[in-house]
């Protein structure tokens, strides 16, 4: 493992960058279970958390891992778990409880091909699961989708802040490429956070000098759960308003706007640049938060552009959100590679040229 203390930039994998960013953000408990392609993250944490005298637990299951994170969060600590698609399915019970109990936590999904055991190749086929709640009940989770190793570090730190601010689980969503490729990262991204963390008067620390705190998601009195759900929805509305993040690349005069996130957005960027060299007016909207989805940015783009193309490493999931944002005013096309397929810039360029 590399020395991250003295160098200006460090070369590391996305998985390691997420781990180091979590350490920098003050994550006090990490629990995980082996699964490819996120194993480097668990291994990294097994060293770094112990070095920092924090808690690392290799759990007996994904269920146990998410519930250990639940427990750490109950106790007021920043906590994280990570996995890949099949493991994230198992964590959904815990994520639903975290949402229901309004507990902050960070969950990393380094996606692989599915359904079922699928394969270990990069994929984006957990989009619905990540953006629609994923588990049972009416809830949403902020889902951050980095497209570079450095951004994976930045967004992991942000994930902890947002989890605390809005008291709920926050996802960092990457794929096998992002998790395992190496890129230089500014060491400043890993500076230990000095700013004060938000106070957590709701945490369980022992009822000393105060009334007992209770953490629960059970509301049995008639109407009480409906009220609580309305409160959750108000929170989600505030998140939509304040935390939607995206990047506009060459969209101003674009006749074709491609929408892509994560690894796919980087491949698409190369395609857009190549198209521009041929004087073909293509642009890219890159959602950084896939929930909340940047629907306003897409709606705005629909004013000037002629046609949209959604590109995903799936059979078409995000494309539905693009369609919802465009509301039928412009045609929306889709190009995808499911089951671990990774599109090349040339493939995307060819698809784009059909529409230009």
């Amino acid at each position: 493992m590399r020395d991250t203390k003295h160098a200006k930039t460090v070369l590391m994998t996305g998985n390691e960058a997420i781990g180091e960013a979590a350490v920098a953000a003050g994550c006090r408990l990490y629990a995980g279970y082996p699964i490819t392609p996120q194993n480097e993250l668990t291994a990294y944490m097994s060293k770094r958390m112990v070095e920092e005298k924090r808690v690392f637990i290799q759990s007996e299951s994904e269920l146990a891992a998410i519930n250990m994170v639940f427990g750490a969060s109950v106790a007021g600590a920043r906590a994280m778990t990570s996995s890949s698609s099949p493991g994230i399915s198992l964590k959904q019970e815990g994520i639903s409880y975290l949402a229901g109990c309004e507990l902050p936590a960070v969950i990393v999904n380094i996606m692989r091909g599915g359904p079922g055991l699928g394969n270990i190749a990069p994929a984006q086929s957990d989009y619905f699961q990540a953006t629609r709640g994923g588990g049972h009940g009416d809830y949403r989770t902020i889902a951050l989708a980095p497209s570079s190793v450095e951004e994976a570090a930045e967004l992991t730190r942000l994930a902890f802040d947002l989890a605390d601010k809005y008291r709920g689980p926050v996802l960092v969503v990457g794929d096998g490429i992002l998790g395992q490729m190496m890129e230089p990262v500014q060491n400043s991204k890993f500076k230990i956070q000095n700013s004060k963390l938000l106070p957590k008067p709701w945490a369980l620390t022992g009822a000393k000098g105060r009334k007992p705190n209770i953490i629960r998601s059970l509301y049995l009195k008639p109407g009480a759960l409906e009220e609580f759900n309305k409160k959750l929805q108000r929170k989600y509305e505030e998140i939509k308003e304040k935390e939607t993040r995206f990047e506009n690349i060459l969209t101003k005069d674009a006749e074709l706007v491609i929408v892509a996130y994560g690894t796919t957005s980087r491949i698409t960027k190369a395609a857009v640049q190549s198209l521009r060299k041929k004087n073909k007016k293509a642009g890219l909207i890159r959602p950084i938060t896939i929930w909340p989805f940047p629907d306003k940015a897409i709606k705005d783009a629909a004013e000037n552009t002629k046609v949209f193309l959604a590109v995903e490493m799936s059979n078409g999931q995000m494309v539905e959100d693009v369609e919802l944002a465009v509301k039928g005013r412009r045609p929306v096309h889709f190009y995808g590679r499911p089951g671990g397929g990774v599109p090349t810039p040339e493939e995307i360029e060819k698809e784009a040229e059909k529409l230009l």
């Binding site: 808690v55 007996e60 639940f70 427990g71 019970e93 815990g94 022992g206 007992p212 209770i214």
Partner: protein
């Protein structure tokens, strides 16, 4: 005038929702008495299960969290690792601990987490209307064994405490009952020893409490006492299952262990 008997401070002065003759009220009270006697109310964190005791936090006057069905030991692990000076206990039924949460209880015990588990065994799923539990006795009738538990179809009553007792991480494990006053006194002693084990940072402690469920068993209060006496404790004998004198735990040891590995 000297008061010789009162409600424990850790127990709220409210009526409970438990059925007549149910054992949960007794177990709640015993835990609260022990917490008062150790004067640890202000640093105790309880974990309420899914099951009849799901709203135990309405009765206990200290910090309590819920946990998903079967997951209290994992939640307790997270809490205790963050707050090692606090006293953390789970309160779990037989469905929670011995069916859906089997993996969590085994591995939490095996890690030797310095927590206390109060395992209430009443041989059925009371909250959902009396279905077969892992601890339901052979031939016992429940909502889902209308002809009696059949060993071929349903398997045998699970001896989870015996299974856990063989694990190196378990320091103290006793099975008690609350069906008679004499047994209640023994049960209190066991719960006290379990908490004492945790206070002394010795490691994982658990008390299995055989408890009455007259409504779930389709019998009277008296009948439920007789059922425990004549049937349950014959299959699940009372007594200490594990008592370890040496101390292994302190979780801080994990740091030094990992350093040794890195040097090699």
């Amino acid at each position: 005038m000297r008061k010789i008997f009162a409600k424990p401070k850790s127990l709220r002065d409210v009526p409970t929702h438990y059925c007549p003759g149910c054992g949960h009220g007794i177990v709640h009270r015993l835990i609260c008495e022990v917490i008062d006697e150790f004067n640890i109310r202000e640093k105790t964190i309880g974990i309420a299960p899914v099951g009849c005791a799901v709203i135990a936090y309405d009765y206990w006057d200290f910090d309590v969290t819920e946990a998903a069905h079967g997951r209290p030991p994992a939640v307790a692990t997270g809490i205790k690792r963050i707050l090692p000076s606090n006293i953390v206990f789970t309160y779990q039924g037989d469905g929670d601990l011995a069916a859906i949460g089997t993996a969590e209880i085994i591995h939490t015990a095996n890690r030797g987490e310095n927590i206390t588990v109060i395992f209430v065994n009443n041989g059925n799923y009371g909250m959902t209307g009396g279905q077969m539990a892992p601890t339901t006795l052979l031939k016992q009738k429940t909502k889902t064994t209308p002809f009696g538990r059949d060993k071929v179809r349903d398997g045998y009553p699970l001896k989870i405490s015996e299974m856990l007792a063989v694990l190196d991480g378990v320091v103290y494990l006793e099975r008690v009952s609350v069906h008679k006053p004499a047994n209640v006194r023994v049960a209190k002693k066991a719960i006290k020893r379990a908490f004492q084990t945790q206070i002394e940072k010795k490691g994982f402690s658990m008390v299995e409490v055989v408890a009455m469920c007259p409504v779930g068993w389709g019998t009277s209060c008296e009948g439920s006492v007789k059922w425990i006496e004549d049937n349950i404790i014959k299959y699940y004998p009372l007594g200490i299952l594990k008592e370890k004198s040496e101390i292994l735990n302190p979780k801080s040891e994990t740091n030094s262990k990992s350093e040794i590995r890195n040097k090699s």
